[in-house]
Amino acid sequence: MNSPATVVNFEPRGGRRELAAPHSPPALLTVEGLTIADRQGRKLVRDVGFDVPLGGTIGIVGESGSGKSLTCRAVLGLLPAGLEVASGSIRYRNTDLLGLGERGWRKLRGVELSAVFQDPASYLNPSIPVGRQLTEALRSTLGLDKRAASERAFHLLRSVGLADAETVYRQYPFELSGGMAQRVLIAIAVSAGPQLLIADEATTALDATVQAEVLDLLDRLRRAQGLTLILVSHDLAVVSQVCDHVIVMRDGAIVEAGPAARVLGRPDHAYTRSLIDNHHRYGVEASGNPEERVAPLPGITPAPTPAPVPLLQIRNLRAAYGNRAVLDGIDLHVERGEILGVIGETGSGKTTILRSILGLVTPETGSINLEDQDLTLLRGKELRAFRRSAKVQYVFQDPLRSLDPDLPLGVSIGEGLDLTGRILPWQRDTRVIEALQAVGLDPALAGRLPRDLSGGQRQRAVLARALVLNPALLLMDEPVSALDSVNRIHVLQLMRQLAEERGIAQIFISHDLGSIAGVADRVAVLHQGQIVETGKAAAVLACPTHPYTRRLLESMPRLQDGHAAAPHLATFGIQEK
């Protein structure tokens, strides 16, 4: 701290300094000049400094790779192998965390400082019932005996909103939904009554309604237990809902920091402004006005609507796994060049629709017609011939897993061409390069392996693999859910462009209303295997008729920046808290 005499509530390095009221609480955590570097001396986090006051809620936002998670990991003493704190200091109360040994950490981590991460399932041992894992954690941190620990475990499970604590206690992690698992992790994290809780993308992988519930839970725990909260997210809206201070990071440095209302309402920095603009453009609140729904892309004029000849017609589709019906009475159609958004939560059957079209699931009843061919009737050789015709292409949810890690990108992208028929190597290479350019990737990347690419580049590469075959219909399974907001927008713009310039029809399934609202022409809302509402995207999202759609819209995290969002909220008839 430059001037220890003044109580500095918030002090980003190189940024503005805001003096808090004289009686503001003292800092619980002080990070000063934190620089994290790898072995080659590359600085991944540069000169980051901030104070976290006792009882405060700090949000850290930024794209992936902005250094937000690394900063938190440094605070927890959990930097990945090969990375080191090169300079700076991290103080918790009067303890210098950087000088702490393994023994010192054991007294602090999980007891005073706690954390919740993105993928809850991977932090639970799959072969041990939840209750036992919780009791063991309690016994080691609090030194309770077996009985007291299990009683406290029940109490904790109830306090994180798991009403049926007895059942959850006996269940194995794989029997829990993502939201339940995250609640259990939160229960473990707060079990020892920590002062500081770090939630690193803790709600990113969850459905909108579940995300809202978990955020609500964190907020409730914070108030009830006087927790100090650091919330890390790439989602501006999530942070704005819970936090009173916001730090915006980019390329390892803080670009802007301050009270949430000020940073989000009157951002100083152009980068923050662009984040907020992007959120408005592709977030759901911007779709209140149908004319403004899709920002016109530079250089693209909307194509005249062609005569409606349905490219794909699904009638009365029913599919079941065993006795459980996953889809029932689904009727959908997609026109050429149209983007159909299918919204639904995990387990609503979205993916099963796509898998039925692809012939990976055999429906019980119903037909799926592509042009004049019924896809549900294809078997064996006919199915393979249809697949080689490449009329329908599927884009997987996880681009990294859908690319062979041992093959250079060019080979993966050209694979479909190798399969469709005889093609000369140089012809294939030209088409691969064209496809790479079409998705905005440098053709030089064709020689690289998937692990050398960023998440956004991989998602484009997977798109290129589908596009190289000139499909009439693209099926996109959550194509942007793993991407940060900047890359998400690029991919969404690309999808729009493909529909308008090349007339490629797309079915885009997602649990994220914001991205669907920004790009789809029509939407269908799927709930428990049935379509509860369908229509023009703008109309459905502006005035939903079905109660489920309304609930989905309400649970969307919204940007709480005062004046900007308010009119849109009003359009939806949603009360601000």
Partner: protein
Amino acid sequence: MRVRPRPDTGLPIRIAFLILGIVATLVLAGPYLAPHDPLAQNPYALLQWPSQDHWLGTDAFGRDVLSRLLAGSRVSILASLLSVAIGLLFGVVPGLASVFLNRHFEWLSLRLIDALMTLPFLVFAIAMTAMLGNGLVQAMFAVGILITPAFYRVSRAAALSVVNSDYIEAARLMGASTFFIIRRHVLSKVLPAVAVTTAAMAGACLSIVASLTFLGIGVVPPEPTWGGLLATDLTTLYERPFGPFAPGLLIVATVWALNALADGLRDRITQPQEAQA
């Protein structure tokens, strides 16, 4: 957080390659390097100690030991390579087929492999030579069959770890055949593991060849082999106490080199994955 320093694998691998290089030379050129006819008996020079004419002395029939050792390399090494080749063929192909073919084949091949794993090497090899006739090819065929489980298991495990991956489903959705998928996506995951097993099994087979020929199975005298030399040297231990040293050293060094190579290969393969994590 510190990464545990990896033991330097460079030196053992280099020594292993040197030894294997020497052994390969013996296999290719052994008979031509031999200073004497390995089969020529000399009743006037029985059980001699090393001399300028006979560097490793002579045996009970007056034959030059060095020449017999050099001439015996080819049979010993080729026999173990034959077993490994048989193990590879009958292990890797069914191992991949068990993942990609169908349920019935999977069940059947797994049971067959389990059964093979219960058979002891030497006893089975002796039984095979008793049944098919005493020859090295018959014996090594038996050994080859017995090492198939190692190849089967390794290739099956590697294929299982990728068969449900998204990129294989993506290839299927583009209309790829199973053969195409194996060639393009599966082999590259299976081969590294198979390479390690091959090196380790080559070492194991060499010691089995040595054991069999030591027992007199598979070779007909006076054909020289490493194991056979070891056996005859043992019978004349009183006259030539250093006798078993030379064939013993050759066997031990070659087996060690193959094992070191397998270890080194395994480290080389697992290293990049650790670096990623």
